[in-house]
Subunit: 336 residues, 2 copies
DNA sequence: TTGTAGGCGTTATCAC
DNA sequence: GTGATAACGCCTACAA
């Protein structure tokens, strides 16, 4: 690999001059700068990031924590879109990204220490168990951190607007005449809590009565469980006219069950998903779903993080909400 | 950040000793090693990978090229599963991974140079335009490279068994009595070529006649186009009894079109997908599809690459085929 | 068994 | 405007 020294020797100048010239320092004359750059290209010079990091104490690497709880690997639309967006936005700013895990080879290495080892300038926590001590350790460390869909006290976070999501859904199905609305929510997380609270609040405002057995729990992204819950709902004496699912994938389990009962969507029963994944728009009927703006969330996460890295002093840490949009689709019938 | 020197001073030994002690060198007495490790933990020592890389000329970072041609970001099941698998397998061996793009900030930087800048020990090309000069440059560089689903002369590659995939599909639908088999294949790539060749070969062997207008092209992962091609097929005087799609997502477009024509699957027409994505198993009827073993492909890619890095001399570069498996599903009717 | 010292490639601070 | 030179933190011969 050709290095600064090679260019310096070829040109009969010093290494320091080459270093400055390559970075267009105004200390160096235009003519010399020009010769340096030309020679660098000629020799195919590429800087050594390790040496540079060592000296400058900046790696231009951002760590990403992505712990897959939802049994979907990177294949969960909401998160994979976000990751793409994070990657692209980082790249735009000259940063690379690397996954931060809590193992390295045989050895256990906490998230913080992994990030420290790679000298990450900052970390984005996309998914993780936010109650895990190691995650908390990372958040409270000296490394700038942005979390997604979870707020730590006095830290930056980007939030998909879960309150508004459910509110919009309820308002929409209400407008379509539904009063018997069942809600299958996901497993217990901060996000789920918000959605449930928001569900009840919206119902209260609209004076919708919610029987206890209209509220069910099923794992996110797990069609089978949602299917079982759907069956329970369909067997109720007072059947709901509309079912809200934890997410679009989970809905697929409900779909099967609904068809088993010989019911048609939306003629016999209305359904609503969450996420607005690619699939939801491909399906017929198009699924009514709240589309989270995961691209924007990723972008915001990057920009907030870089801001924090660049001006650690003046940076104000606060949660940012990113709104989604209701995709009305064709699965909610007007039953007026 | 605490460094070797800090430990050395705290213990009254030399930096060299600490360095060796931490790596359990047999040069160092057990007692001193013990004290060193204890002190290191006490002080929370974490090595600086940049300094280490600089010295050892090994980064333990693998670059991944993932250029999204299929308009799906990381959201394409086949690839996202593979990426998860690559990440996990690398982590198992003490490697991290970073995406290698051909831009960095404002500036254009070729893939090779990006990988060189980060001193990647090797690169896995997951998706890319393999005809692009920059990709070829990367493959022909000094950096160990493994490609997926594309073979460069005398380089390592991992291949999903596209030949066998189509052969198995054809044999299966033949067994079910189908003779009028239409094939909507993807856009022109090496993979597509293989599949087409394999399709014709299997048909020939079974003496199935393939009318020209039974063969159509539609972009991968693009339901709308597959839908249009499906319509054309359904309007033929001599309608096929079975349609093979480029992939499971593309099939979704076909599904809509088939339903528009008032046809039912599989009663009125049989269909086959490709990939065996999560969704294909959730759908009812379960989609007949060839399930590519993307987890295994990712794993193989990592292991082949690491082998090549560790023993560059003795390593034999050759393509590795990874078999998939036919998911029979419920969308191919027995029409005997 | 432990210590010393040079150097990996870069940047930055001084002199000149 | 340019050139020495000293770090950055680590590893590794080689010396003690």
């Amino acid at each position: 690999m050709v290095k600064l020294k090679d260019i310096a020797e070829a040109l009969g100048v010093s290494v320091g001059t080459v270093s400055k010239g390559l970075r267009h320092s105004h200390e160096i004359s235009e003519e010399v700068t020009d010769r340096i750059i030309r020679k660098a290209n000629e020799l195919g010079y590429i800087a050594n990031s390790s040496a540079r990091n060592l000296k400058t104490n900046r790696s231009y690497v951002i760590g990403v924590v992505y712990v897959d709880k939802s049994r979907a690997g990177l294949g969960h639309d909401y998160f994979s879109t976000m990751l793409s967006s994070i990657r692209d936005e980082l790249s735009l700013h000259g940063y690379d990204f690397t996954f931060v895990s809590n193992t390295i080879g045989e050895n256990k290495l906490s998230y913080v220490n992994h990030a420290r080892y790679r000298r990450c300038d900052g970390v984005i926590i996309v998914t993780a168990d936010f109650k895990e001590p190691e995650i908390i350790e990372l958040v409270e460390s000296e490394i700038p951190v942005v979390t997604i869909d979870h707020v730590f006290n006095n830290r930056s976070a980007i939030l998909s607007d879960n309150d508004e999501g459910l509110e919009q859904i309820i308002n929409y199905v209400y407008k379509k005449g539904h009063r018997k609305i069942a809600f299958i929510h996901g497993e217990d997380t901060a996000v789920t809590e918000q959605r449930i609270a928001s569900f009840y609040k919206a119902c209260e405002t609209l004076q919708i009565e919610v029987p206890k057995d209209y509220i069910k729990e099923a794992l996110y992204h797990f069609p089978k469980q949602a299917g079982l819950r759907t069956r329970e709902l369909l067997q109720l004496k007072e059947r709901p006219t509309c079912i809200i699912y934890p997410d679009d994938y989970a809905f697929m389990g409900g779909l099967t069950e609904i068809e088993k009962h010989g019911l048609k969507i939306p003629e016999d029963i209305s359904v609503v998903g969450y996420d607005g994944i690619f699939l939801s728009r491909i399906l017929r009927p198009i699924l009514c779903s709240y589309v989270q703006n995961s691209t924007e969330i990723g972008k915001q996460a990057v920009n907030r993080l870089l801001e924090q890295i660049d001006k650690p002093k003046s940076f104000i840490r606060k949660p940012v909400r990113v709104k989604g949009v209701l995709q009305e689709g064709q699965t909610v019938k007007d039953i007026h």
